[in-house]
Symmetry: C2
Subunit: 398 residues, 2 copies
């Protein structure tokens, strides 16, 4: 069965099965425990799929929540059940790694709106028996965080020793620290911002328009109608992927080299290696990701604006916080540039928070937070060890 | 008839008519004067549509060639016959303007591969009587320039007093100065580069994929089949448009303001002003531009690599040139950043050329070269006046 489910082309039943019965632990919150959404409606029943690694200690003081980015999921440090590939943060998470599965109890939930087992547009709508599609309510970063808090309640974790995430994951980190400040001992927002910029909203809108322009999208009813907006989603992914890298990284990896030849073909084939690479990124992405989830999660990022609930002043969101912060940015990240991270640091400073900040020199762009960057790994390790001493953690058996 | 041709929605016959019988002067080169293309084939017959402004002086020494960018055309300084809008460089070109129609004889051709009357994929293929579509040969920047040289021969212009253009227009300027160095007295390459970067190729490829993913594209046969890849081309334009601006300009113009309301709609409508602006950019573009031309012209830009013909050394391309250069870049242009212009300047210096260079401080991004930027206008005016003195030009009657 596992074989048939990880075949090259996933069909609609595969997607719905992973959404409803994911190959990871999941918890169903029944109608008596609805998720109150910012849109003003309640989602019930709903479910959250998650992975855990390591062991919760007796004092329940070593839990670390990892928040995934736009196209990530709960499979941080295990072979992915759909793609067969390693987890998305294996360089960071594992035995002896900076986020050490021998020391910490690590929880990574799939976000609400995702497509790997937490309720989202490809999940079955209990009211109809069909996939939600666009009837799924539009969700926000805060909705994701509220659902995660319910998961932690279920797992018996009152306070997180730490929380970490990059990009959309970093938005969740910041939201956690303002919505539930007493539940977060330390926090690592990476390559993120307190609000999405106009340029980032613009890039997301192009991606959404690419999906919605695909006639196979069928107003979001494609699973129900047996179609798939593969080309639209692939175009969206290709465009987004450029923004995750840097000009320098693309130049270093591909330059202007031609694909499998030394001269141009004078055609519209993928002449340059970089074109071939992008097409590959597009076509593999559509195998693992749901087009409607892409709409919902980009929308949630666009709506994110931490200051909006605090009279436009981010510093107020962090006033009096006792959480220890480590903010990290990357020099070549032009999607969430260092200036965004500096704004977080300034707000934290103004709010009286304990904060350290590192800008890491790299040409790898926004995606650097996911990669095997020695300085990133060293900083995260050092920050968590220091925070662990402050929290009184010494071994996994504490 | 003019009214019916500038109606809101242009249909296929409108497009073919403008391509074959443009509302500007045009010249047809018959079978005895083919255009030799880099692809190794000859294009014949073919035509070039163009506009001229001002008067060629008796000495034939005051001609200025303007090269348009990707989505531009020959209508530099007149009401556009399709859109009804002003020309694309009215701030720069006109009586008393820096490129002064009272002093210079200004020629602006539509590029080969375009859609406003020079031979391109929406023109009628004389061999079949139907639009060329993808049977039109893939063209290069050098092919555009070869065709322009034939137009100048026809107009009786041996040497250009000056040549100017930004972006793809700047590529043509640089190509002119290496292919026909003796025919160019002075040159203004603006916001351009000697080769397209991997990131720029990547962005173009996403745009092409967006067009080709549209089922209405019909393998490029949409005019013949009576369809139109409007949504695909609009998505391509939306994505490209972001790259023409800057994060700062988008922030200044739109920030995170909601469209016609103060709160999010929790939907996939155009909630933010920047989304609405982009959708508008996409939908107006498809009225005036041909989707296949978009494929051909982006491809020509991607192929552009001036060094490729000179053992990979750009400086060799300019060795011994007597042309006077003025290279201009803009601080917030991240598509053709100042480092690209510096590379041009270094190559020109190494080649012994006479060159001045200005980096203009602006937050308007790549599109700044098209806009009413006082410093840009002043520098172009000053450079042309100085070059005019060197050339012995004093009035339009020289």
């Amino acid at each position: 069965m596992s074989n048939s489910r990880s075949s090259a082309i996933r069909n609609a039943p595969d997607r719905v099965r992973e959404a409803d019965q994911p190959r990871s632990p999941f918890i169903v919150f029944e109608a008596d425990r609805p998720l109150k959404l910012d849109a003003g409606v309640e989602l019930a029943p709903f479910q959250i799929a998650y992975q855990t690694y390591g062991t919760l200690n007796a004092a329940r003081s070593n839990a670390v929540l990892l928040c995934h980015a736009l196209t990530g999921d709960q499979h941080v440090a295990n072979i992915h059940p759909v793609t067969g590939k390693p987890g998305w943060w294996e360089s960071m998470v594992g035995p002896g790694r900076p986020i050490d599965t021998d020391r910490y109890f690590i929880i990574c939930p799939n976000v609400i709106g995702g497509c790997m087992g937490s309720s989202g547009p490809s999940s079955t709508n209990p009211a109809t028996g069909h996939p939600w599609g666009l009837d799924f309510p539009v969700i926000t970063i805060r909705d994701m965080v509220r659902a995660q808090a319910m998961l932690l309640d279920h797992l018996g974790v009152d306070q997180l020793f730490s929380i970490a995430g990059g990009s959309m994951g970093g938005m969740q980190v910041l939201q956690w620290c303002t919505t539930y400040p007493d539940r977060v001992f330390s926090a690592l927002p990476l390559a993120t911002a307190t609000r999405h910029s106009a340029q980032n909203i613009a890039f997301h809108e192009v991606g959404r328009q690419a999906v919605m322009a695909d006639p196979e999208w069928r107003q979001g009813r494609y699973i129900f109608e047996g179609t798939e907006p593969r080309r639209g989603l692939a175009v969206a992914r290709m465009g987004a992927h450029i923004t995750y890298l840097s000009d320098a990284a693309l130049h270093r990896k591909f330059g202007r080299r031609f694909q499998d030849r030394s001269n141009p073909t004078f055609s519209f084939e993928a002449d340059f290696e970089v074109e071939n690479y992008l097409r590959h990124q597009g076509s593999t992405f559509v195998e693992r990701f749901d087009a409607n989830s892409y709409l919902y999660l980009t929308r949630a990022m666009d709506y994110f604006d931490l200051a909006a609930d605090y009279d436009g002043v981010v510093a107020k969101a962090f006033k009096g916080t006792s959480t220890r912060f480590c903010v990290i940015s990357f020099t070549s990240d032009w999607l969430f540039p260092t200036s965004d991270s500096r704004a977080i640091v300034h707000a934290l400073n103004a709010g009286g928070a304990r904060v350290s900040f590192a800008e890491i020199e790299t040409d790898k762009g926004h995606d650097a937070f996911l990669l095997d960057e020695p300085e990133l790994l060293a900083i995260v390790r050092g920050f968590l060890e220091s925070a662990g001493r402050a929290r009184g953690l010494t071994t996994a058996q504490d």
